[in-house]
Amino acid sequence: MKKEISEGRRKLEEELRALVGNIFVPEAKVFGMVCGCVGFAADLRGLQYDDADVFREKISAIMEEISKSVGVEPEFVYARKLPGSEEVVTLTARELCERCKREFAGSKAAPRPDIVVLKKNLK
């Protein structure tokens, strides 16, 4: 798992640099939440919402691939913006608990204004 997380961080940074330019991924992690959700998240600097929007498909595909490599089913892939700005600070692929399937990912609108939904793979 340690190897896959490190490799995922490196791969994401490399691919984003190839797509967009000077992107920095200082940290990547696999997490488990109290509600039951698990996920893969990468903090990043340098990516803006417009870039994420233009490369939505490609970024989702990269996140899905890395997420699967660390054992997380990427049911909900999203970017989090720095509130009130266009800076994307985190990319997350999350395997959702039943509550979050409805509450967090169940609305037609993004759950919050700082969240940009990149892909939903909900069954």
Binding site: V34, S107, R112
Partner: protein
Amino acid sequence: MVPHPGHFPALKEIIEVKEAEGLKEVEEVFMGGSPEVMGSGRGVLHAPLIDEIREQTEYAHQHGIKMNIAMNSTCTGGHHLTFEGFKMFKWYFSELNKAGIDGVIVAEPYLVELLRDFPMKTIVSVLSYVDAPQRAKFFEDLGADVITVDTNINRHFELLRGIVKAVNCDIRVIVNEGCLYRCPFRYFHYNLASHLSSLNQPRSPLFAPDFYFDKCTNIRLRDPVQIIKSAWIRPEDIKVYEAIGIKSFKLSGRTKAVNWIIDCMRSYSHRSFKGNLLEILDCPQMLRYMFYIENEKLEGCIEQWKGCKKICNECGYCDALTKEVLTYLK
């Protein structure tokens, strides 16, 4: 009044559910304004420009919903009292007015007075800490059209009755705030939030930006009675407040997920909720993963709280109630 996170699709979804389910009691929404002008009592997750505010307001009006903007920062660092600040607030209020906004929620008395020059309703924020008839009268004289009372007095019925009698403006209570009763951090936490949600940020990065939030969560984990003592009002108990002349109720939670807001809107509109009360309380949400408070078991408790003198060490009612209604989730 229902919270709106700020992005247009969320507003559309809230209104869609309201209309589809005939939730007639939902008459107004509120969202944060621009952090470039002012922070607010909650984190700002969206920074709508005037054009977007206009567009959303028009949409809300087409559906018979009023739109309010929260500008309830408790500290501007004195900016409002500079010529630059004065001009900026005047300009922003004027733009909000032109955008069709129905009301502006403010905490700062200076801004209450400034809003007199505009036809929009002046809604005094819960962060003006109106907790007595005297203070309510002050704000009404300054120009308040609606006063949101300090949640600390949500269960002080004599004071609520007194405030309703003392003023002619509307009195509003927040129903689903889960903050600590008489929280020692309240003023400081909101001052911090006001700065962090504005451009007027601390000069150096904070080593503990969630200090107050973490403290308040820890207090409740160690002493769950504090959850019961909080100022929340069950959906079933709204009628008790109506009986004393309060007709306006507000849900808090504009930083929460859209579907959570919609669930709360449903419960309070139907005036009925089954399950863990913590599911519909705004803050701190994580408590719902640790405790279960069976809402049905709280039926009738409001009668005790109506006459409560708030001298907890002599009473013990909430301690006993906690043992009865609260369980730990595994």
